[in-house]
Amino acid sequence: MTRKMDDTTRYHRLRERYLNGDLDRRNFLGLLGAAGLAYGVQTPFAKYAHAAAEQVRFDGWGGVVSEAFREYAFDPYTAATGVNVVDGTFGGADEYLSRVKASQPGEFNIAHLSGVFDYVRYHNLELSSELNEANIPNLGNVIPALVDVLRKPTGGSLSAVPYDYGTTGLAYNRKYISDEEMQEKGAMLLIDPAYKGKIGGWGEWKTRVWYAALQTGQNPNGIEDVDAVWDAIRAHRDLALKYWSSGAELMSLLAEEEIYVTEAWSGRVKALQDQGHDIGYYDPPGGLGWQECLFVLRGSPMPECEELLNFMLETETAIAVAEGQNYPPALDPNKVELTDKVKALPAFDPSGTLAGLNFFDPPYWNGKEAEWSKTFGRVQKGY
């Protein structure tokens, strides 16, 4: 067995060689200087890893979600452990991944990411960690289906805990589109020439491909005629007024009646409905479900992060966040008593099985990412 040599031993050996005459004075001092320089250069970066035990950085979507986390999880966690939580925000998973990629290990610790696609993406980039589940007893309250799907890509272990879920269904202005018409046409409404100039869409390649697969009668997790899918995306592009790029923009376009129909995130439509807008929401057959997770990045202080995850999975915290962002928590309704408000959220599954939702199949979609995201970038711009 080899034993790792510490710096003091290294110095003693070097000094011994100098005193024995194996090294001349110039080389001895030169090597000491080089060691000092190396220490000076690495210290600013190493501090993130060393300081992590005193603080944990969390990055999320900001707004009411961050406020709920701060009140119900971060502050009690700091009071109990003395570990400070640095709360950062990001505008999107892609932007956050770029920041993580440019950072040093340990600089970012926990992120509120979309699963399972991003979970696999981070794992493929060697950014995943391995959680000690014994330190997260509240994980036992989470819907098993959401946990199992995260285990597969990481060989049975977890690098994240599921936190909430929702759907990307169809939002429509009921002043112009009836419930009957929506249920009859479903995803085809997004390529209905009758609504040219009043159709919107998320400018994200996975969602566009998923809905185009539905429009061409294909299984989104096993597309056979990809040319037909690109044609459907082109048809949608030519009828669309705008590709939206954020939840706020989606809400603005619907509320201002710039568009009458688009795919939309269930929680955002609920927020619009709560504001009094007559916006309908419909999950078409084969519609898209997703989950969000709390991902722990490689190089993070694991015991501290695991304890924070446990705080965040406390029933009270998870429900407060769910009510704030209008997405059901990942807590299993068979094990935890949820509030009436949570039970009324769109996409909420009282059975706790999520059997009725369709998710991205990670191996399939992550394998297509490089090719399809690039092709969509071109199709989106008129090619």
């Binding site: 892609d94 932007e95 710039e258 990412e369 690039k374 989106q380 008129g382």
Partner: protein
């Protein structure tokens, strides 16, 4: 050390903080970007270190990038022209106004106190279906249904003009303010009409300012990505949007690096041309 040697070193010593900042914040990052442009993105999104010309071949040969680049230059050129036509009279008015010049200049700077993104998004409340213009048009019975005005190339140019007009006005103002007004009087006394005096005396003398403003508007306009994102439709992307997509959405830093260097080269060539024929001094005056 001789006095001559010391004197020769002094400017470099004084310049060293600025030179260090330029080297560290501009040339070193640029060198990183240049190195990155020769790497490759693997299927998982990780970078493959090496010396590959694939990104450059794609960026230079693929007509997709060429077309978007040409469209970007076209939008920047139209924006610059509109800024010149709108900005020159405003700058002339400020330069020739008596007494309230400072207030007018302050008003010109006022938009800079508000975030560029907020200013861009304000057009949604003005030109949107439920916006101010449609509210007036439908309220007064001029139209029955709101007019769709947003999310096209025109609104992208409008947003850019809104953003860039102060740069044009400031540059032209600096140029006009430095012209001796008695020259116009002299032209008038020699029989020229006011219009002729303007065309043959004032306008030629103010051309350096107009060119400096034009260069700034063009370069800033060609490099923007927020405006087409907020005010453009599906087909109104500009070249900087491609860089953003390559780096952020596709996590293809090597290709994004090649594309950003390509844009830098095109705009840099323009700046060099400007410097060759007009010099940078006027631009510095305008920025100062």
């Amino acid at each position: 050390m001789s006095v001559e040697t010391r004197e020769a070193r002094q400017p470099w010593i004084l310049l060293s903080p600025a030179l260090s900042a330029v080297a560290l914040l501009l040339f070193v990052p640029l060198a990183f970007i240049a190195v990155y442009s020769f790497w490759l993105r693997t299927a998982t999104g990780a970078d493959q270190v090496g010396f590959y010309l694939d990104n450059w071949a794609e960026a230079l040969i693929d007509p997709f990038y060429r077309d978007i680049l040409l469209n970007t230059l076209k939008i920047a050129a139209i924006t610059t022209l509109v800024c010149a036509v709108m900005g020159y009279p405003a700058a002339y008015f400020i330069a020739r106004s008596k007494g309230n010049k400072a207030i007018l200049l302050l008003l010109l700077m006022l938009p800079f106190w508000i975030s560029y993104i907020i200013r861009t998004m304000s057009w949604i409340n003005i030109l949107g279906v439920s916006g101010a213009v449609n509210w007036v048009l439908t309220g007064t019975g001029i139209v029955d249904e709101p007019i769709q005005m947003l999310y096209n190339q025109t609104t992208v140019i409008l947003g850019l003009v809104h953003f860039l007009l102060p740069f044009m006005v400031l540059n032209v103002f600096v140029s006009l303010d430095g012209i001796d007004t008695t020259l116009e009087d002299a032209a008038n006394s020699l029989g020229a009409t006011r219009w002729q005096a303007f065309l043959q005396v004032t306008l030629p003398l103010s051309l350096p300012g107009l060119a400096a403003g034009g260069l700034l508007c063009f370069v800033l306009g060609a490099g923007t990505y927020i405006t087409p994102l907020v005010l453009g439709g599906p087909r109104d992307a500009m070249f900087a949007n491609l860089v953003f997509e390559a780096i952020i959405t596709q996590l293809n830093w090597p290709l994004g690096s090649a594309l950003s260097l390509m844009l830098l080269a095109v705009l840099g060539a323009l700046v060099l041309l400007y410097n060759r024929y007009l010099g940078m001094a006027q631009l510095m005056k305008g920025l100062g």
